[in-house]
């Protein structure tokens, strides 16, 4: 009996080690592939038209599929503006798309470490993010807005920063809403949730007084819940772009395909499909 258990444990350990070996093998093959594509791409910089070095490959897109209408789950599939634009770009580049859902804060890490080829998640271009990743051409814009309950005494952003105001602000962690709210109101007034939907649930339950989030998801959340409304804010209009690892060769090809799609109106038609013009 003891020998049997010892043998079984040995087997488990060996299987565990082989799993580690397997993943490290794919890492090294990805590294060699990246090295080999870096050489030709460096010499033939902008001409991605005919021989796209990404052609035939599977590109992994990192996203946080809790951000309607840019990316969200519908019947087991991730759909939305970002998902469709990414699919269109990949079709143009001749590669297959695979979407990985993760927490928003992990997207930049995944892209920088090579776990994902690019990240597209309604992500705003900021100088701080530019230090860690490269951004593509911007394909959409957004602006931060405030969601409050009907009948709330908050009527504008200025109410939140007024003297002696003690309002609790909910945000999705690591988004620009989080950054602006923390800068404007301080850590004590901000509650960071993993998902926008959790923040809105807390708002509906009365745990917090308002939620600061991008305007399009805000519209989706308000439509899905009763008793909420959106206030206009004077926050800056932001550019959304896809992010790539610093120095990635994919950025240039992606941009070429993306710009072609913007030019022929595909991107706008995808956006219009999800966002009806106000």
């Amino acid at each position: 009996m003891k020998k049997f258990i010892a043998a079984a444990l040995c087997l488990v350990m060996i299987l565990g080690l082989s799993a580690c070996a397997g993943s490290s093998k794919t890492d090294t093959s990805a590294a060699t592939a990246a090295a080999s594509t870096a050489a030709p791409a460096a010499s033939a910089s902008a001409s991605a038209a005919a021989a796209s070095s990404a052609a035939g490959k599977t590109l992994i897109m990192a996203t946080n599929a809790e951000f309607p209408p840019y990316e969200y789950y519908e019947n087991d599939k991730i759909v939305g503006i970002d998902a469709e634009i990414a699919q269109a770009v990949c079709d143009k580049m001749g590669c297959t798309l695979e979407i990985d859902n993760m927490e928003f804060g992990s997207i930049v890490t995944a892209v920088s470490s090579g776990k994902a080829d690019f990240g597209m998640a309604g992500m705003t271009v900021t100088d701080e993010r530019k230090q860690s990743v490269d951004f593509s051409t911007s394909y959409a814009t957004g602006v931060q807005v405030v969601i409050v309950k009907d009948g709330s005494e908050i009527t504008s952003v200025d109410d939140l920063s007024a003297d002696g105001a003690k309002y609790m602000v909910g945000v999705q962690q690591d988004t620009t809403g989080d950054i602006y709210a923390t800068d404007d109101f301080g850590d004590e007034r901000v509650q960071r949730f993993n998902k926008g939907a959790d923040a809105v649930a807390a708002l509906s339950a009365g745990k917090i007084d308002c939620v600061i989030i991008d305007n399009e998801p805000a519209k989706a959340f308000v439509a899905a819940n009763t008793g909420l409304k959106i206030l206009d804010t004077s926050y800056v209009t932001e550019d959304y772009a896809a992010c790539f690892a610093k120095g990635s060769t994919l950025t240039a090809e992606f941009n070429t395909a993306l710009e072609a799609l913007i030019k022929d109106g595909t991107v706008q038609s995808i956006i219009d499909k999800y966002i009806s013009a106000d």
């Binding site: 928003f104 804060g105 930049v108 890490t109 920088s112 470490s113 701080e128 993010r129 230090q131 860690s132 990743v133 609790m168 909910g170 962690q173 690591d174 989080d178 950054i179 850590d187 509650q191 960071r192 949730f193 993993n194 959790d198 923040a199 649930a201 807390a202 339950a205 009365g206 745990k207 917090i208």
Partner: protein
Amino acid sequence: MKLAEWFAKIKAEFILNFVEDNRWRYLVKGLGNTLQITIAAVLIGIVIGTLVAAVRSSWDQNQEGMRRGAGRTLLKIANGICRVYLTIIRGTPVVVQLMIIYYVIFASSNNGVGVAMLAFGINSGAYVAEVIRGGIMSIDRGQMEAGRSLGFGYVQTMRFVIVPQAFKNVLPALANEFIALLKETSVAGYVAVTDLTKGGDIIRGRTYSAFMPLIAVALIYLALVMLLEWLDRRLERRLRSSDH
């Protein structure tokens, strides 16, 4: 040359992650919340666990010999409630329990730390109850018989003979449970509580470097656990001094 570069890089990362904007304050705040939640949950867990273990073990030990009557029925009902509690709490993940308590049961409360204390305390109570019951059941039946034959009642035997011995048996398992509880509280971030892990996440979200915040958080948890282990060793050693 390379070593100096590497060292300068580490130093720059350290400054970016902890010194700039006083980001180390997120870790301090997180640590404070984690300790508060853990200590409160430990206390709640011990109280609930002891009560449940007392009911469960006295039912298991006495049910055959008890006279039919009000006392027995009461104990039977209490035992049933305890078994349901144990099954449900041990049968669902602590994250799910925490979110149910925060979003459904205490829907209107915005006191994340308080709700987390309660949720983790209830969760820990189930595991502590089983640990204590195991400790009590592990004492030789001869001890109970000896106590009864001296004229003690059931409760008195438990109090003077069984529980002091059982305490020494349960200590390693209890210390284990509380070490596990300290790290379980790392999911409190799901209800927007800034605990130690979430503090590290916030820094990671601002600086986009994964290495420093994660290692710092891991080291702080490690230091806390080593402190708990040391305390446990001291306590066990003192209790063992009577075992000659």
